[in-house]
């Protein structure tokens, strides 16, 4: 399986779309975590979450929350797109048969894809942490503030949380791609769920219907938001509907379910 992982890593590392997704994640995180709040620092004091971020939220000791702020929304969406590309492109390019006639087992190839998603999301989260740490240091120097960093344990916990959230969304992308055997439809449906349905449930349905409010506690999006909020993240879709422990357990559960279901589908289905 190690060689299958190397093959998958080669495919994704040399793919321009992979680097584009990473660049978009970094740019959006810095834009909405630092550039916009810093530009509006003197004026905006109220409005949507994130618009009134104070200086304290942009300083080094709060950079973990800034790095995680985009995870429940755009970074999660980008991870889902990446997951779809990892598995769905094999359908799009017609390369499943090219790979599988080389005799690796389907389970090994699938496992390699999940490992690749996990390694790529880890790299992405590390990049986001590095970028936000750099941005926070820049803000501190511009504002003449002290460079006070969070405890290493908090940074590591934040990294773990970010990795869990992005890997979970990536695994959902892989599952959708295998389930729908394509690229465009899984991306479309995944984004509709992630960016539209979850927000509609949270903002419209949950305040009106108690059972929807309860349902929120076991859905992936709200739990991802809750986990990010536990680290001080502040952004649309980020709210502490459950504690960080429960959120971690729910997200890990989704990760396992998505992973197993995708492998089962790939194993039993014909490669058309």
């Amino acid at each position: 399986m190690l060689r299958d992982i190397r093959a998958e890593l080669t495919k994704q590392a040399r793919r321009p779309a992979t680097w584009l997704l990473l660049a978009v994640a970094v740019v959006l995180t810095l834009t909405f975590g630092y550039a916009v709040p810093y530009a509006g620092l003197s004026g905006a004091t109220s409005g949507p979450p994130g618009s009134g971020r104070g200086l304290a939220a942009m300083l080094p000791d709060a950079f973990v929350g800034s790095a995680l702020g985009g995870l429940p929304i755009f970074v999660g969406a980008l991870a889902l797109i990446f997951g779809v590309l990892v598995a769905g492109s094999e359908y799009g390019y017609g390369t499943w048969k090219t790979v599988l006639v080389q005799h690796p087992s389907r389970v090994a190839v699938y496992g390699a894809k999940l490992v690749t998603v996990a390694l790529a999301t880890l790299a992405a989260v590390l990049t986001l942490f590095a970028a936000t740490a750099g941005a926070s240091a820049l803000v501190a120097s511009l504002e003449g503030q002290a460079l006070t960093w969070p405890a290493v344990s908090d940074v590591l916990l934040g990294l773990g949380a970010g990795w869990l959230v992005t890997t979970m969304w990536g695994a959902l992308g892989v599952l959708l791609a295998i389930g729908l055997r394509s690229v465009a439809l899984p991306i479309g449906l995944g984004l509709v769920w992630l960016l539209a349905v979850q927000n509609l449930l949270a903002s419209i349905a949950a305040p009106l219907l108690d059972w929807v409010a309860q349902l929120q506690k076991v859905l992936p999006g709200p739990n991802a938001g809750a986990l990010a909020a536990a680290f001080g993240a502040s952004a649309p879709g980020v709210g502490q509907v459950v504690g960080s422990g429960q959120a971690t357990a729910v997200l890990a559960g989704y990760l396992v379910v998505f992973g197993v279901l995708g492998g089962w589908l790939l194993h039993r289905r014909d490669i058309a």
Binding site: R14, R15, Y93, T98, V101, H103, S105, D270
Partner: protein, 271 residues
Amino acid sequence: MRAGEVYGFLGPNGAGKTTTLRMLLGLIRPTSGRVRLLGAEPGPASLARVGALIEGPAFYPYLSGRANLRVLADHAGVRRTRVEEVLDVVSLTERAKDRYSTYSLGMKQRLGLAAALLKDPELVVLDEPTNGLDPAGMADMRVTLRKLAAGGCTVLLSSHLLAEVEQICDRVGVLDRGRLVAETTVADLRSGGALRVVAEPLEQARDHLRHRYGGVRVDGRALELDVDPGEAGRVNAGLVGAGCTVTELRWHEPDLEQTFLALTGGTPDAA
């Protein structure tokens, strides 16, 4: 199939050739029956001895030809240096660094063949490998396949191009609507020729030949006799002796297409 032969898998479009090959390679499962590949169920163990190109080449367009093969070498569990060897076999070394998306169809087919050879397989399964190739490319492919067979590799070649099969294959299996309707050598498939005679007056020639040889078929202005090709001289002498003028006398061998259509119940238009 016999070891070291080039076996042609013939059949009209929709006969089930590719479906059969997909079952052999474990890509799809049969709804009934069993598939045996090199004496075992299709799976990683048996597929380790098989190279295949199914339904045309499919690779990652953003990778070079070489990178594509390296990725597949990793999946196949073979050393990456093998990539250079197969690139050389298919004469693609010079363009190996270029992106796959820039390749011509002929180059893509050759890369597909290279991928099939990565494992140095005992059996190579090729589905329409000359599709889209120009005459020179087709000739190159034929030479490569014959070299493989000469080196002890068994080749299963699926095609609907009869001329291709005729030139490359030792034996053929003809598939029609999912059933094997014939399995024989190309020579046997083409056997059953007749001596074709054009002579005047036609009726006098026909009567003479019927009296002498029995069954004679009339095909327009020509007569066809089921005799040995070596009988042509005596047929000619007999007709001249009977007062006929012979204007044409030749051995007529049915072409593979006619045999193929007869076996598969097709018509020239449909084929």
